[in-house]
Subunit: 239 residues, 2 copies
């Protein structure tokens, strides 16, 4: 297969499930034609490629890291292979690159220069949690991480709850996994008892996946343990 000269945005695993369970075959075939990758983490990226295709020619490939430590001035030169007409791939640590990760920066440079950017289908915890939550999918907002400190976190949760009431839009956000239990308790205690709160954890993991939407009042008396399990949070207020 001859690939178009484009920056391909390649989704990666969000659990340890077999790759065929959440990655289209077409992605793997297409990726086989790419030799230059921009990745959030080289080790994760190489492991993912091997997992999709044990014969992937990893040693013939270049991997350039783009993450929180990258100097913004270094981003543009990462696209040099594409400027010469070679297809490139962008992969983040988990899920869809360009969403809730630093990958948008390189897509932005490509767009500015009129280079083609092509997104592939794959797993996204944001979208998949929304699909299963039963919350409003006609209007929703993703806000990234909650603030670290409890007081600011409570203030933010109240702001997001107000946005639910005002706009009807589902509000989606994340937390560092080791703080999950503490944060679920804080959110349940902060929200109005009737506000719906969804915790979606271990999405695509056939054994551990759990996506539960309940009123805040029910969460207050419920037992749970989301410690160190990747989770995403959604709130919704029926009007």
């Amino acid at each position: 297969m001859t690939l178009k000269a484009a920056l391909y945005m390649i989704p990666v695993a969000i659990s340890d499930a077999p790759a065929d369970d959440f990655i289209p075959r077409g992605n793997v075939e297409l990726t086989r034609g790419i030799r230059h990758f921009i990745v959030e983490n080289v080790r994760t990226a190489r492991r993912f490629l091997r997992r999709c295709d044990k014969d992937f020619p990893i040693d013939d490939c270049t991997f350039t890291e783009l993450n929180g430590h990258t100097d913004p001035n270094d981003i543009s030169t990462m696209l040099d292979p594409l400027r010469r007409g070679e297809p490139m791939g962008m992969m983040s640590e988990a899920g869809c690159p360009g969403v809730a990760d630093p990958g948008a920066a390189v897509a932005s440079v490509a767009q500015r220069e009129g280079l083609r950017v092509i997104p592939l289908a794959g797993p996204s915890s944001i979208l998949m949690s929304l699909m299963a939550s039963g919350f409003n999918g006609q209007g929703f907002a993703f806000h990234g991480y909650l603030p670290v400190h409890d007081d600011e976190k409570r203030r933010r949760v109240r702001e997001l709850e107000s946005a639910c009431v005002k706009t009807g839009m589902t509000q989606i956000f994340i937390e560092t996994p080791y703080r999950n239990n503490r944060t679920v308790k804080l959110i349940a205690d902060t929200l109005n008892p009737s506000t719906l709160f969804c915790v979606a954890s271990a999405i695509t993991d056939p054994e551990r996946e759990s996506i539960v939407s309940l009123p805040a009042s029910t969460w207050r008396r419920r037992e749970y343990d989301y410690s160190k399990i990747p989770a995403i949070f959604l709130i919704h207020k029926s009007r």
Copy 2:
């Protein structure tokens, strides 16, 4: 494969590309174990199942429509097979069910009763356009359809542009395809010249896909024809 008793949220095609290009194999295998489907449109759903698997036992399946014409009182009984312990599938007209379609209503009933809801990975024009736009993917909001009338549409576009400036979040919205050209012109003329505007059309279509991010001022003098092509719109203001 014995499936869990769950409501599976099953993504479907958003273009005429081969199913393997955007649907994981695992989805097709899993779907083969389901006999009861809730679908936005029966004909589209049957055609999609045949396209993924020409031997799909369609005639052994029941299909119940859930769309804009459905009486909300009829939704709960649709889940009776699941209440008896049989796996069910939900499919919308295009893309991921529960997102920008009426499918969330049935997931909501399932969640209320403690029935399990499991989302599958697949193509979403909202997420894929965001991945390729180069716009902020750490914070974004989807607003559904723009208002029909030009005056209200202009007002809404200005509101969304203000939200970009205020929050930095990418603002995403859609339009009925036959109005696309008129709407692209209206948006380009309404936005501040430097505001970035992305038009993403025919996503996953190998021949026609186009995802272009440019300042509003460039869109004003650019030629395009998006008439009747499915498209999604994004705006972003660098801060």
